[in-house]
Symmetry: C2
Subunit: 220 residues, 2 copies
């Protein structure tokens, strides 16, 4: 039993390590976008392989815990939440890579005025990610709940970025390629926020046993 609890602690620590690395990738991808920082972009590409390896290791650790011990209801909830959060984190790592690829394609071009709303989305998405992981660490349902509302704000920002970019392309077709890159970046930021929302939902399920998935609209 002692051993089981040590392994749970180990799972928790590996997950925190993974979330640290993913937060680093998200931060640097946004840095690379806003500051045109190519070194930050390269670091994100380098993190990717490590994140992928960690995802598999955490999955194996969690599955072996499920296999070897008859878990208590709360331990079981923790392990299944860990498996889901692990999956969300890995996807956030992938999304950071996508942001960086689009950003590298944009480098050297003059910054479009539309970029103003994108840093706003980026800041909000980052703060949602931070809060969702804090909510997990502190088992704080209030903090988790606050993230569900921010998700609607992100969706509105994305819609307004889309509309601005469509208008820009219609008026000036030479901006099409750049605008498409910015559109996919806005979409990536919104998806980062979706994953933070998923984590917040997992925290609520973990702490309160309440199922809050599919509370509003389609997350995809």
């Amino acid at each position: 039993m002692r051993h089981f609890e040590e392994e749970l602690e180990n799972l928790r620590n590996r997950l925190l390590e993974m979330s640290g690395l993913v937060e680093d990738s998200v931060y640097r991808s946004i840095q690379s976008l806003i500051e045109k920082d190519e070194a930050a972009a390269q670091q994100v590409l380098q993190n990717e392989a490590r994140i992928n390896r960690m995802e598999i290791q955490i999955d194996e650790l969690a599955t072996s815990l499920l296999a070897r011990v008859q878990p208590m209801a709360t331990d079981l909830r923790f392990i299944t939440a860990a498996i889901k959060i692990n999956n969300d984190l890995e996807r956030m790592g992938d999304i950071s890579v996508n942001i960086v690829r689009r950003t590298l394609a944009l480098m050297g071009e003059p910054i479009s005025k539309v970029l103003v709303d994108i840093p706003h989305m980026a800041t909000l998405a980052q703060s949602m990610i931070r809060k969702s992981l804090d909510a997990f660490v502190r088992k704080d349902p209030e903090l988790a709940r606050s993230i569900l509302t921010s998700d609607d704000v992100i969706d509105q920002l994305r819609d307004s970025v889309y509309e601005e970019l469509i208008g820009l392309m219609e008026r000036d077709p030479t901006t099409v390629r750049q605008s498409i890159n910015l559109m996919f970046i806005a979409r990536a930021l919104e998806r980062l926020a979706d994953h933070a929302t998923n984590i917040a939902e997992d925290v609520l399920f973990l702490v309160e046993g309440v199922e809050v998935r599919h509370h509003a609209e389609v997350h995809e």
Copy 2:
């Protein structure tokens, strides 16, 4: 023990029911796109709530199986694969809804010539989904493996659709709004194929115990 095996069978059947419903949504979303079939589109929107409820029920069923029985290694692999496949199926349902929303926005407009490659992507994505679910039902690793190669073809098709649409928008900015919808549809089809690939990877892990995730590039 008898009871446990019945419940495993129940989990398997619920998952097949879920996959039937999701396949229906995918099929109708593509139907609505290609045939401008509004009734098919409406059916997809109606399926959504049912798919979401089924996802939660299957998750609960799988988790309760994990909680109450000390699973064998193979049973454990089956249950964790079921949890992952369930999640992929639910996202495929969401993606069908996204395709339908974009398709409804396109209805009434003349079909662009670029649409030719999109039905091609749609057919391929649909066949990958069918094969991935067949591979799961039949525990067929060869079939699962064949899906991993198709995924690269889908990515190439998506890139060529993107390039064609960018060219079209640059030449004729009145097509911007329509082209963006088509671009997001191409992206949605590629993501459907990604989820079929995830399922194929889960089947390989289930049958052979081989971890094949992250075999190639970023899926996001």
